[in-house]
């Protein structure tokens, strides 16, 4: 508030009013700058591109028996399991009750940098626009080649002790350990295809996955170790995994002639710690300090799960691995890496005749849907009664485009991170998914190695259609302009991913830009001024920035150098807001922050 000078005696009333008015305007201006448009100025500093959880840490050493060595000392976090009974019970019943009674509200994700992006971390890596889709998720050293293997050299050394999918663990000479899983006679080729393609999508998007591959091999390569056992869940008695059980698995698998088709998931490197949870943190990992339900990467992954109908995206289908810097697998220092696993339920989950129609639309125990149906006597039109799926492609069950509503998609039971996905989290993931071109989606469908070309074509059509629905929903509310950067010192350029992906008709895109000094909103008509925009029509858009400060003079981070730029593409409801510092003609502009407010 500027200090008002003491009035001189007998100052005319008009003059006194004028000075008062000037003081009030100045105060209002300061108030406006300080308090709008919603936050303090972005500091002038490099954006955080790398998260601290990639740095090695030391964990307290404890005695932890390992493979019969009672005196073994481990300097890694403790392996743990996600309880198979309590976890879904908590997610379906007790957590919703707790959240309701505590009136818990969630906000924006915590691990978002000044550019509205997620830094590289132990969870997620910015892989630069979904590169490498056509290639597998595997290092060449882990690719299996049955033609180069002799009979009896693939040793089955462990039965599968969790999950409904039939399978077993195999150790392949010079390649390592793999979990082999088969399709079922009711749904040939689809689960194995979903495992491989789903992993490829997650990896291309930036997440960590195991090496997944489809393998056609003669059963004679397998050699069964004696004394193995298997079961599908903690409620079952372990049964002997003997020749009869093995034959049962092989009999149900899809085949090409004498070759059995299975999906091989390579053992994840490192010291395995067990699955991660979608809520809370791992208490013995010093770097795991953001509650998982507040991580943008985990929240945004909801859209990938929706895209491929991965209703089983639960805690148990994940893995943490401790990567030690030394030779000892569970030695310190090291850090934890987080993996996504097992997308075999995608592309049309089959949970039996009672549950399958609801998958993707309603939780297994969906209290709000149940209450609505009870009180309305079932008169509401429910999508699971409308008949999902496409005629002639029942092998894909309800995996289709026409019944898919991205914002309403649900997995089989509530996921704490998915439930907290905000519009910004969804827009972030949509910008990543927009980089999957039609050619890349075609390549994904071909990775499924489906025998019938019609199924491959159908898979491609559905993947593309569902992706388009996701992009149409999540690239049209918040500004879809990404890869924002400064070129030639005074041009702000970016890529409108909605235009690049043709979410709307080309004529719908009309780019405008305006700027205002300081942090004031360009919506203030007195201060906003238009900017020249150059749009290529393929999504690239550039804005010429004005000069507001000289090279010398104010400090680099002075408010006098601070500029706010709004860019609208004519389609999205909200603008892209860029915050920059003009360091003068010689050094040019520096992009300090990005915001995508809702319209």
């Amino acid at each position: 508030m500027p200090r008002l000078p003491r009035p001189t005696p007998r100052e005319p009333r008009v003059a006194r009013l004028a000075r008062l008015r000037a003081a009030l305007v100045g105060a209002a201006g300061l108030f406006h700058v300080a308090c709008a448009p919603g936050h303090a100025p972005f500091p002038l500093r490099a954006p955080v591109l790398r998260d601290q959880d990639l740095d090695a840490v030391r964990v307290a050493c404890v005695r932890r028996p390992d493979h019969g060595d009672l005196r073994h000392v481990s300097c890694a976090p403790a392996p743990s399991d996600v309880p198979q009974i309590w976890t879904p019970l908590d997610h379906m019943v007790f957590r919703p009750i707790s959240d309701t009674f505590s009136v818990r509200v969630s906000g924006e994700a915590a691990n978002v940098n000044s550019l509205d992006e997620v830094p590289d971390s132990a969870w997620f890596t910015n892989r630069g626009a979904a590169t490498g889709i056509a290639t597998s998720t595997c290092d060449p050293s882990r690719i299996l080649d049955p033609t180069r293997s002799a009979d009896g050299t693939w040793v089955i050394d462990r039965g599968k002790t969790t999950g409904a999918t039939p399978g077993f663990r195999v150790t392949v000479p010079k390649r390592g350990k793999y979990m082999f899983k088969a399709d079922t006679p009711d749904q040939p080729e689809v689960p194995t295809a979903a495992s491989v393609v789903g992993a490829a999508i997650y990896r291309a998007a930036g997440f960590n996955t195991a090496c997944e591959q489809i393998v056609y091999f003669p059963p004679s390569l397998l050699k069964l170790s004696p004394g193995l056992r298997y079961r599908h869940s903690v409620a079952e008695d372990p049964k002997p995994f003997d020749e009869r059980a093995l034959q049962h698995v092989l009999d149900g698998a899809a085949r090409r002639g004498p070759l059995v088709r299975m999906h091989a998931s390579a053992w994840i490197p490192g010291y395995l710690l067990g699955p991660f949870r979608y809520d809370g943190t791992r208490s013995d990992d010093p770097s795991d300090v953001i509650p998982h339900e507040d991580r943008r990467d985990l929240r945004g992954a909801r859209l990938i799960a929706a895209w491929i109908d991965h209703v089983d995206a639960r805690d148990a289908n994940s893995m943490d691995a401790w990567v030690a810097e030394g030779a000892v697998p569970d030695g310190s220092p090291g850090h934890v890496v987080h993996y996504y696993l097992d997308t075999s339920d995608a592309f049309g989950p089959d949970f039996g005749p009672i549950l399958t129609p609801r998958m993707g639309f309603s939780y297994t125990l969906d209290w709000s849907d149940m209450a609505e149906d009870l009180l309305t006597l079932g008169v509401l039109r429910r999508p699971w009664f409308a008949g999902a799926g496409d005629p002639g492609f029942s092998v894909f069950r309800g995996f289709d485009v026409h019944s898919f509503v991205p914002s309403e998609w649900k997995m089989q039971y509530e996921n704490p991170a998915f439930s907290r996905m905000t519009e910004r989290d969804g827009a972030w993931m949509a910008r990543i998914l927009a980089r999957f071109s039609r050619e890349q989606v075609r390549a994904l469908a071909q990775m499924a190695e489906l025998t019938d070309p019609k199924n491959t074509e159908h898979l491609e059509t559905v993947l593309e259609g569902r992706l388009e629905r996701i992009l149409a929903r999540y690239l049209t509310r918040l500004a879809p302009i990404g890869e924002l950067h400064v070129e030639a010192r005074d041009r702000l350029c970016g890529l409108d991913l909605a235009q690049m992906r043709a979410v709307r008709e080309p004529a719908s895109f009309r780019f405008t830009a305006r700027w205002s000094p300081g942090a004031a909103s360009p919506d203030d008509g007195r201060r906003a001024r238009g900017l020249r925009v150059e749009a290529s029509g393929a999504g690239r858009v550039c804005v010429d920035l004005p000069r507001v400060a000289p090279d010398a003079g104010p400090r680099d981070d002075s408010p006098q150098r601070y500029v706010t730029v709004h860019v609208d593409d004519g389609v999205a409801q909200g603008p892209l807001v860029a915050y920059l510092y003009d360091l003068g003609p010689a050094r040019g502009y520096v992009l300090a922050g990005i915001d995508r407010p809702e319209g």
């Binding site: 972005f42 964990v59 307290a60 009974i85 969906d366 009870l374």
Partner: protein, 451 residues
């Protein structure tokens, strides 16, 4: 003193052992302390103090519920269920109830609650393919102190894919059976109780010939002993009869043993779920009973039938149905029919809004409309409205204003268990001539078929 010293030494040794087990050779480097969250460089949004303050109002109001569910329920369950899973207790618990190869045998707890009657709890045991494939055994027992007990034993032999031979024995002793008099104009206020001691042995040949259709022929012997009963403040039937509410019913205070023969025929065109539920059902039954002990010879003939039409409105279990049925009981010989062998409405019979055997007479007619709809996977809702009543022989005295209304709404499992688990809430009215007021309420929760 020596003992105390020994105990202290053992305790010290245990503590030292634990410390040795947990401790490890020190590498001389400390563990990394828990990091502070990184500053990702986004300025915090301006605090919305008004919103934050407003949220505390419901939080404070709901805090007792939150503290209870969070710390008395969720936290202990989290620890205990996780520990139980690590100790393999779920599998052991299931093995306790289900056993044998492929878990074909088991014993499960069951219960039945019907407000207005004594509850019952018991066990249901089963053994599929007992001693031979296709031979199923079941045993069902329930009780409630001190005079309520029941037992049912059944052996079911699958002769082929469609025919089954069943041997069945049941024994029930319960003192809380209700009686209001006989005929169309009985009053709710005449509620009284009698004790029924029943044994029933029969053999049935059941032939499922088409979808839900079946033909069943049963021959058996039943023995009933009927005496004074009690429940809550309700009087016995004898006392209520002495008060003039109704004549003492034939059979009360005595015992009869009857040889029974029964044929039931049902035609049901509906396919089993999850197929659409559109179709028709026609059913007819006739039962002949002969009192083996009475003189002169006596017995009864019970017969009746019904028709129902079902329309699945969308092919997904939203089923509207209309049904009509009529039942008759005629004496064979000169003796009246024991009142327990008369036609009855209520309970699991038509007009579920009434308690079991609320309406007793020589004949009955009921028309009903019902609606069933899915609520959740394997759970459905039911809604029924019925008009009907009992009358004298062959519907003598039938008048529309002697009809009653019964309605009920319920939630039931569908296809999840052998016997549905159901919660039913119903109401029943007096006759329209009496005013048609709703004068009875029924609430029933069943985890089994009940006795």
């Amino acid at each position: 003193m020596r003992i105390l010293t020994a105990l202290l030494a053992v305790a010290a040794l245990a503590v030292a052992s634990r410390a040795y087990a947990d401790a490890a050779p020190s590498s001389g480097v400390d563990a990394t302390p828990r990091r502070a969250p990184l500053d990702y460089g986004r300025p915090a949004p301006p605090p919305n103090h008004a919103r934050a303050a407003a949220l505390w109002v419901p939080r404070l109001l709901l805090s007792p519920l939150y503290l209870t569910t969070e710390y008395l329920l969720r936290a202990p369950l989290s620890v205990s269920l996780t520990a139980a899973e690590r100790a393999d207790l779920p599998r052991k618990a299931i093995d306790f109830f289900l056993f044998g190869p492929d878990r074909k045998a088991g014993i499960l707890p069951v219960a039945y609650i019907d407000v207005g009657f004594s509850p019952s709890a018991g066990l249901y045991g089963f053994w599929h393919d007992a001693f031979a494939e296709g031979n199923d055994l079941s045993l069902h027992t329930e009780a409630w102190p001190s005079d309520w007990y029941a037992l049912s034993v059944e052996e079911s032999l699958r002769l082929d894919a469609s025919k089954t031979l069943q041997f069945h024995f049941a024994g029930v002793h319960r003192p809380d059976r209700v009686f209001y008099g006989i005929g169309p104009e009985t009053l709710q206020s005449s509620q009284s109780r009698y004790t029924e001691a029943l044994t029933d042995e029969d053999v049935t040949l059941d032939w499922k010939y088409f979808r839900g259709s079946h033909l069943a022929m049963t021959a058996g012997v039943k023995s009933e002993s009927l005496g004074p009963g009690y429940h809550g403040n309700d009087p016995s039937v004898e006392r209520e009869a002495m008060a003039g509410a109704f004549p003492l019913p034939y059979g009360l205070g005595g015992r009869y043993t009857a040889q029974t023969n029964r044929i039931e025929a049902t035609f049901d065109s509906r396919r089993p779920a999850p197929a659409p539920g559109t179709g028709v059902r026609l059913d007819a039954r006739v039962e002949q009973g002969s009192n083996m002990l009475g003189s002169p010879a006596s017995g009864w003939l019970r017969y009746g039938g019904g028709a129902a039409g079902f329309l699945d409105l969308d092919g997904h279990g939203h089923v509207l149905s209309l049904a009509a049925s009529a039942m008759f009981a005629d004496p064979l010989g000169s003796e009246p029919i024991p009142f327990t062998e008369l036609v009855s409405l209520g309970g699991d019979s038509p007009m579920r809004g009434y308690l079991p055997r609320r309406l007793i007479g020589r004949s009955a007619v009921v028309a009903s409309a019902s609606y069933a709809w899915p609520i959740a996977p394997g759970v459905g809702g039911t809604l029924e409205a019925a008009l009907g009543n009992v009358f004298d022989e062959h519907l003598e005295g039938f008048q529309p204003d002697l009809l009653r209304f019964a309605g009920d709404v319920g939630i039931t499992t569908v296809g999840l268990t052998e016997s549905p688990i159901a919660l039913t809430v119903g109401v029943g009215s007096e006759t329209f001539a009496q005013g048609g007021q709703l004068d009875s309420v029924r609430v029933a929760l069943s985890f089994n078929r009940g006795f």
